[in-house]
Amino acid sequence: MSEDLLELEEEEFTSQLTAPVLKRIGGLLKPHWKWVLGFLLTIAITSALDAYFTYLNKQFIDQGIVLKDSARVMHLATIYGGFILIQSAAVFTFIYLAGVLGERIQYDLRKMLFNHLQDLSLSYYAQNAVGRLIARVTSDTGRVSDLLTWGIVDSTWAVMNITSSTIFMLIINWRLALIVLTIIPVMIFIAIEFRKKILAEFRVSRRANSRITGAYNENFQGTRVVKALGREDENTREFQGLTTRMYHASYRAAWLSALFLPTVQIIAALALGFIVGYGGLQIEIGLMTIGGIQAFVAYLTFMMWPIQDLARVYSEMQHSIASAERIFKLVDTPSEIHDRPDAIEAKTLLGEIEFDHVDFFYEDRKSVLTDFTLKVNPGEMIALVGPTGGGKSTIVNLLCRFYEPQNGVIRINGHDYMDYKLESIHNKIGIVLQTPHLFSGTVRENIRYGNLSANDEQVEEAAKIAGAHDFIAAGLEKGYEQNVGESGNLLSVGQKQLISLARAVLARPELFIMDEATSSVDTLTEALIQRGMDALMKGRTSFVIAHRLSTIRRANRILVIEDGKIAEQGSHAELLKLRGHYYRLYTQQFRHQLEVAYGVTEEVEVKEEEFESMAAD
């Protein structure tokens, strides 16, 4: 819900029209200028012809009927018919050109944003909620392309329509036309003010609407609490407060909309009444024709459509420009982590890794690591333990160069790792996250993510090494071709872990990083995961944020990380002897895990099954 609200707030942000922004927005059209020219021309033709048809109707009356000239009527009809065909061709062209161009601009913008997002560093993601980034790529691009295509189409049509109508009116009778000309700005002004008010009310109601959705959501999820506390009546009363607010806002928006057109029309009617009266007098003295009066009536009656369009485009334009600014801001954000100009290829990561007096803090400036120093030998397995927020994940993030230290140096093979090309580091790292992240697609595709050029045999080989093969081949209906669902949701947590292990195996990394899951999986899966990890770590340097005793015990070295420092380090036996931090952590963890192992094994398995059957629904 809150993401919804965030987006609303962003939407309400409007922007002033400044030359550089407009220029940059216009620049998006530059590569497609032929298309723009095409739809501008055809919409202008369409619009001018609309006004011309009304003029032709006048000719029907004045030159045909009044003069009783049937041949003239047929002649005019031929012209009329010809222009209908021309106009239809123009309509086809502008709908197609503007529409397809709109899709094209959206495509271009999405591509530009997505590609840039791939290059941004993790710190950018930490500061920007995924929901916002998605809004950038989806709704903001839509709004900008709407402005650049339909916004231009509608306003061109409107301006052209008003202009050509005015020209025809001037031709018919310039005195009366001048009267019409004076009220057009008034109508446009009122229309714009109306649209702004309506838009504001709509925003209020959308805001109320997202609160209502939030209340529904919470009440459904908390239904057990609601029932147990018997709070139904009070909840309904509270909810009625929300729907009342929603009712008032949307009712107001709706009736303001209903008031809008009549108001503009009545102003037009004032002019119309005058024109009929005054025009009637002029007919008497031969300055005006009856067909001319008819034409004025028609022009004025249909004048409200272009005015309505202009008001709409204008009132929405500011929001579209704000969207464009947000897009540009994202695209202009430089990646904090990038290759140095003289970056070299890292040949191997299997060497000594050293944190040399490293300081690090995130954007909130609260320091996470201070003066952190650590030396790791090639092939060593390091277990990181300690309380949440102590800095374990930060060490791993720095190691992967997702972030870079503010002070101090991290060396791999004696080289400052910032001298290496990023890609040459990343393609030698294998990583398994605490909450394993899979992509929509098949099991096979997900494993192959570790090495895109791997063939089917290699994929299955990796799955075997990781201990995932058995459950894939036997447990999944379609085996390797089984769809894992959105973000892998059709699989259990344990299964996702095994697949992400297999993925890491296939990548044949030199440095392996694992953030162990805290949630328990059943014993069998647990054993499989352990075996997979063993296979993976052989001959590689590895860092594990460890929660499981078996993992911790097998580590060459255990680091207890607290408040950004190494509180204790050593082997399992050494640390237990100390009877310090590690001892406390270990005994607590020990007790808990054995209890799970002995007493509650069944429970965990049941949970797993429940999860699967739920997901299968």
């Binding site: 009356i61 045909g64 009927i65 009329y80 018919g81 106009q87 239809s88 309509v91 086809f92 709908i95 197609y96 529409g99 709109g102 959206q106 591509k111 997002l117 993790l122 993601y125 209502i212 529904y216 959501n217 919470e218 459904f220 908390g222 239904t223 057990r224 609490v225 029932k227 147990a228 506390l229 018997g230 709070r231 139904e232 009546d233 909840n235 309904t236 909810f239 729907t243 929603m246 009712y247 009712y251 709706a254 009736w255 009549p262 119309l272 009444g273 009929v276 009637g280 009856i290 008819q294 997702f402 294998g430 973000s487 993925r503 002897k577 607590q588 007790r591 209890e595 069944e602 049941v606």
Partner: protein, 615 residues
Amino acid sequence: MTTLQTAHEPALTFDFRPTLQANRLKGLWQMMSDYRLSYIAAAIALAISALSKTFTYILLRFFADDVLARKKYIGDSLTSSLVWIGLGFIGLAAFEGIFSFLSGRLAAYTAEGITRRLRDFLFDHIQRLSFSYHATTPTGDLIERVTSDVDALRRFFSEQAIGVGRIILLFVINFVAILNLNVKLALVSIVVIPLILLVSLWFFKKVTKAYEDYQAQEALLSTTLQENLTGVRVVKAFARQDYEKSKFEKDNWGKYLKGKILLFMHSMFWPLSDIVLGFQMLFGFVHGANMAIRGEISLGTYIAYIGLVVWLIWPIRNLGRIIVQTSTGMVSYARLMEVVKQQREPLLDGRHQPEGPARGDLLFEDVSFMYSDGKSDVLKNVSFHAKPGQAIALLGSTGSGKTSLVNLLPRFHEYTGGKVLLDGVELKEYSRSYLRKQIGIVEQEPFLFSRSIRENIIYGVGRDIAQEEVERAAKAAVVHDVILSFPDGYNTLVGEKGVTLSGGQKQRVAIARTLLKNPRILILDDSTSSVDTETEAEIREALNGLMKDRTTFIIAHRIQSVMVADLILVLDKGEVVQMGTHAELLKDKDGMYRRIYDIQTRIDAELEMEIARVN
């Protein structure tokens, strides 16, 4: 459930259950009760507005024929006639405007009013549906219905029904007007109308399908985007940026292509219908002009005709669009009715309505329970006696029936065999509302609402509570100091926009709430997970305070939490396999209790051994 019994329940909202009809249109008509008059008034206002417009052209005809041609003046001069006619135009426009506004306002009043009532009803209704309904219905599905489907109905009333009415009214009124001008001319003007209506119906059905395709592709694109952004670490760690770019490119380009198809359809339909309707108009113009030349109709009639015919012809092609759209309203009606028809849990039904609180004496006699699908017994012949103030521990693994057993007490589920007696009266005789007031539930990680901590503590207590009392409860629940450490103290918001509480903190907030509620019977979920020792001691302290003088059911799977209970029930596959006190149960060497006990002792022994080994 009879109507007499439901009549007890306060009518908080308009009842939509009578709108459940096999015939959807009939059901929608039922939904409109109280609003029918205003909706009909909206339609009448619409008709008046359309009539005013039509009369504008009739006035134009009078102006051309009577005033200009025949010199029949209103008053005595041309000038005064012209003034009157001018005022007539303004008056008619004002009339048209006012009634068009009234119609819009009345339609909005109806649509928004019905929607508000529907939202209120659905909220109230859904929270009163049975526990098993909620357990089996995904929240996302319900949300979809109460938001999108309700909005589709709102649009049905505010735009579609009135839109169809508007087009039909415009057609009928202007057609009748042209008929009055000249029958032949009228018939000539509508030749293509049936054709264009059929074609537009066909087209909009097609385009709706193409649009769904387009949206499906957009959903695909969003998924790819979402997965990429949430999995940014994986993407970076495997250096798969280029692969991701090409994957996104595929979906992105796919959307472009789907959009192109959609636009091609539009760019064909509109100009083609322009040609057909344009030539229909032209045909009428030429025909009318020739009639006027031959003197069959007057010039004024012709002028009125060319004004009126526009309102006859052009709206028709939009009729197809609106009719196709109404079908979504119908589908939404049916989807909502699936929720409306669900049976509510009667909260107040019950023959036995004691004045004061219960004593808390619970007797289970051969109680069995199975879910309505009837597959297997969840509980089998459970019998035991809990005296007021006693602590009853339920030990067993998940699936053994512990939770199902306690769910019977507040009548979340109804037992299917045997008897449960509370203070000597069968549970089914009590109203659910009464029982739930007597029972407090503290879950291991309770659901908190996104409101302030204070509001969460007094949530559902159902009486005015002074801040002091709230603080006293929070102190007793050992959570007061934690709350004070937050920036806004008791007014700190819980959840996304405020603080995130740990499982133990949430549990203690629930304990504070339960203390305020002061129930006679308590259900405690004590399957404590890995909380650190300090927290565990705090929770234990809070729980001990809470359990005092209440009949308590403790759900547990650790010996430590059940040792002190007055009665321990060991459950396995829905059956009580052992029952007694800790000391009694330990005596049975082959019993399950003893086995669990041994395992846990062994754990301690193993730990000591391991430490001894390294030393």
